[in-house]
Amino acid sequence: MLYGYAGKILTINLNTGKASADHIPEDLARDYLGGRGFVARLLYDRLDPGTDPLGPENIIVVATGPLSGHLLPGSGKTHFGALSPATGGYGDSNLGGHFGPTLKYAGYDCMIIEGKADQLSTIIIDNETVKIVPDQGLKGKGAIEAEQELKERLGEDYQLLTIGPAGENKVAFACISHDFGRQAGRTGVAAVLGSKNIKAVAVRGTKKIPVFDAKRAQEKGEEMYKVCFGKPGFKTWTPFGTASITDWANEVGAFPTRNFQTSYAEFHEKINGQAIVDRLLVTDKGCFGCPTPCGKYGHTTTALGSAYVEGPEYESIATLGGSCCLEEIEEVAYANYVCDQLGIDTISAGVVVSFAMECFEKGVISAEEVGREISFGSLEDTVYLLEKIAAREGIGDVLAEGVKQAAAIFGDGSESYAIHVKGLEWSGYECRNAPGMMLSYMTADVGAHHNRSWALGYDVSQSDADVSELIEAGTGGKLEISTPDGKVDHVISMQHSRPLFDALGICRLQSMEIGFETFHYEEVFELITGRRLSWQEMLAISERIWQLTRQFNVKHIEGFGRDWDYPPRRFMEEPVPSGPNEGRYISKEILDKMLDEYYEKRGWDKNGIPKPQTLARFGLD
């Protein structure tokens, strides 16, 4: 018996309308733990090369981890994956909230959705009973609106995943929404759901999960909460959540501004964590089992309307605020709300919209093509473009494919400021003086996402100078050059430690932000599963998953290799024009040296392809 797991994989075939439940193979749990590990392995095994990401043969895997749904801090995470319509390669994303634990209480660690429904439908799972119900007036509804409506229809016991119009229209960066503001935002998993004609998934579960030593696991879980509450970082983390980094990101010249033209926004104090607390905040909001609720639920009023919204998180502040230059927190929050209803990832949305703004500014696209004049800093223009993208109308149809594809169509040099890696838009850290963070983005398996490795701390801490003092002293805040020395090792190490939380099905923030020690996870893992694994042994599993997702990209992206790992030309050739990192950029030559070292340490060839002996070492041959 697999303790800690619900024990079953639920497969829903939309072609036949049938669902089946199979036991989780023990070797899958042993070698991949769960969550991200299950997603990666099942996608790798079940998808053939040449699969169309938006065709019925693509599958969506939704997976919890062995620690999901148990009594311990941050155990509400769920992982989603599919062949990504944004990159054509490995795609995954996760969200918190309550869906994963409820799926587990329904008896399933994992759900696979395959095929295509013949009309827009909702999947309803009530323990063993699975129904596929045709659309009941949900077509075109906002993701949050649809969730509200389904909650009213089905009852509060159901946890819901919904997509908005962007998902229905297969926008490459459409997101899955849950719990009125939590999103699995990245890599376009919601477009795959939309391509399968699924508007929503509802789940209700009332079963128990077998636990190896239930009494001691409960005692350990309670102890873990007490430890969390006693951590010195506890009181300082929760009030501002991720938005507290906004000023800092500016002071270290890492804040994407005007489509990443520069890395410092003069207006950052108007869109920081304090601005959220002072001008928007209604209440804190957390996920299942969370002692440190980082969600900020607020209310915003702008010239375009008012709305309740969860967030904005730092990443949304960076891309909608910094990159699109929305200078007031109310405007950032409103654009965030529009994205949430349309079902668009705020990170990609901000990067795509700001890319269009720069293209317009440079005359690459005209007012006629756009349908109006657009400019940085305009909430109205931002919302106009977001709505066009979600509806795939006019220019929106091109932008809906993401900046890589849009630049290929617009041409005129625009690809050098289409800010992405592998087709996934860059998230909230500008890196022209941050080689470690640059490498993190370049080598992340899903494309330019920060959560696999956040090496920025190593880049920034290389110097002793206090940035705020430099700026106050009127030095122009010009920072020293951050060097690549030692960064490759840090990036590799973080690429194992951070995604490990996604395989266990828990939030990483209690560990990363308030210093919760990893030995607690070892202990509770053993009490729940009956399996003794040291953190180091778990990291080795995480490394196996990393090798597998690289090999997934080799299998699915024609000609995949080193060329897929470079950042946009802007970062390699254009010096930052202003702010603390004025004059900085990282040449291709330096990045090539870092890539050489990275590939060698990973056991990959010069082109970034895992060597046969490397695959064999991880049991992937």
Partner: protein, 82 residues
């Protein structure tokens, strides 16, 4: 003669633990000189730019704040890319 020695307890949080593995979560620093928050950060070998803010008696204090005998201070790092 007045004894100027100072004993301060420092709590290291967030990614500072990852960046400075030689430091434990709770450090006791003794100094025979008056010490500010900045001075303390220097004593510990931490880059000042990795301290988002310092919290003394549950209040955020500027980095030039002087520390006093037996105080306990939290050094808070920037959120590390949630």
């Amino acid at each position: 003669m007045i004894n100027m020695s100072l004993k301060v307890t420092v709590n290291i949080t967030g990614c500072l633990k990852e960046l400075y593995p030689h430091l434990s979560e709770r450090e006791v620093v003794e100094s025979d000189q008056p010490l500010s928050v900045s001075g303390l950060i220097g004593e510990l070998g931490i880059s000042p730019r990795m301290v988002l803010f310092a919290v003394l008696n549950e209040r955020i204090v500027p980095k030039d704040r002087q520390l006093f005998e037996d105080c306990e201070i939290n050094l808070v790092s920037p959120p590390a890319g949630g």
